[in-house]
């Protein structure tokens, strides 16, 4: 997973150009290893800084960071309000210096994203009105869709494997 995305990491860490395809260096194994150790150091020393993640929840993808609120539309989660849940499908995780891209998701023990269900409410009243002229047909329906609000509590990056 990691080596595949080395080019991306390399561009950030070493300022190597991505434009000139002939000039892309990270095809050499040594450069890749250097980048890997650099990222590993950042993770182990905790100097990676604020992380963001792209999580997959029920067909939608959300780019989240710690403290965010996301609104899941049209359904209520089974978890009660106040319950902490773990978002398992992490498609991507990134800091200011590197990004790790899953194929399609990161391994479970690599990273951990936790969220709290803070609200299970309804959306605003949507009006569905249809009308056929000269046919004395009109229908009005008012719908409120279910919504779940999640607070992202933590994004942890544990290791590269």
């Amino acid at each position: 997973m990691f080596l595949k995305n080395c080019a991306n990491v390399a561009t950030r860490l070493m300022g190597i150009s991505r434009v000139h395809s002939s000039a892309i260096v990270p095809s050499s194994l040594q450069v890749r290893k250097n980048i890997q150790t650099e990222v590993e150091n950042q993770i182990s020393q905790g100097t990676a800084g604020r992380l963001f993640a792209v999580v997959h929840i029920k067909g939608s993808q959300y780019k989240v960071t710690e403290g965010d609120i996301i609104v899941l539309g049209k359904y209520h989660l089974e978890a009660d309000i106040g319950e902490k849940i773990r978002l398992n499908k992490i498609l991507l995780i990134g800091s200011s210096d590197f990004s790790l891209v899953g194929r399609p998701v990161l391994k479970e023990n690599m990273a951990k994203v936790e969220a709290t269900v803070i609200e299970k409410t309804l959306g605003h009243e949507k009006i569905f009105f249809n009308y056929i002229r000269r046919k004395s047909h009109n229908r009005m329906r008012i719908r409120q869709e279910a919504m779940t609000h999640l607070r992202i509590n933590s994004i942890e990056l544990n290791s590269l494997e």
């Binding site: 434009v19 009660d80 803070i118 509590n153």
Partner: protein, 180 residues
């Protein structure tokens, strides 16, 4: 009503609820109903059978019962952010009342309006906003833009013309070898 006329707002939460611990936002529930009229029958049934359980399960919520002669049955919910929501439960059966109470319990008390964004964040970008110069070689900073190298088209593969020319060249070389 057009979209512009519908009141709208961004995603909000009360006092960063859930960032540390979570506090249920429903503070007080007041049932107002009639002791005799038929419209309040479901409410009376609910109070008799289920209200004690609800109250036990939610110790943070105070529950009041106020009989009101010949009034429609309704429940008034007060939230920690100061908002009050009145829900008409006249002519509803206990199951429906339970459903609406569940809705009031899981709400934050913030007014329900059209949401302009389905996400709220305080740090919108961690890697910085992308520009055309993001991840480009720093030598570009001092390069002259009349430089012909920069104007060259960059591609990974050969074009069809180049492939053909190469084929022709190879064939020609083969022929040359044969003749010699």
């Amino acid at each position: 009503m057009s979209g512009r006329a519908i009141p709208s707002d961004f995603v909000k939460s009360v006092l960063q609820n859930g960032a540390g611990r979570y506090v249920c936002q429903l503070q007080r529930l007041t049932f107002k109903f009639c002791k005799s009229s038929g419209g309040s029958r479901g409410t009376r049934d609910y109070i008799e059978k289920h209200l004690i359980d609800f109250s036990r399960e939610n110790p943070g919520t105070a529950v009041y019962i106020q009989p009101r002669r010949h009034h429609t049955a309704r429940v008034v919910a007060e939230f920690l952010n100061g908002n009050t929501v009145v829900k008409n439960i006249n002519c509803l059966n206990p199951d429906d009342i339970m459903k609406w109470l569940e809705h009031l319990r899981t709400r934050s008390g913030i007014e329900i309006v059209r949401l302009r964004k389905s996400q709220h964040t305080d740090s919108p970008s961690i890697q910085g906003v992308w520009t055309p110069w993001t991840n480009k070689d720093s030598s570009m900073n001092i390069s002259d833009y009349t430089d012909k190298k920069l104007l060259e088209m960059k591609r990974d593969e050969l074009t069809a013309t180049e492939k053909l020319l190469e084929l022709a060249k190879n064939l020609r070389e083969k022929d040359m070898k044969k003749t010699t």
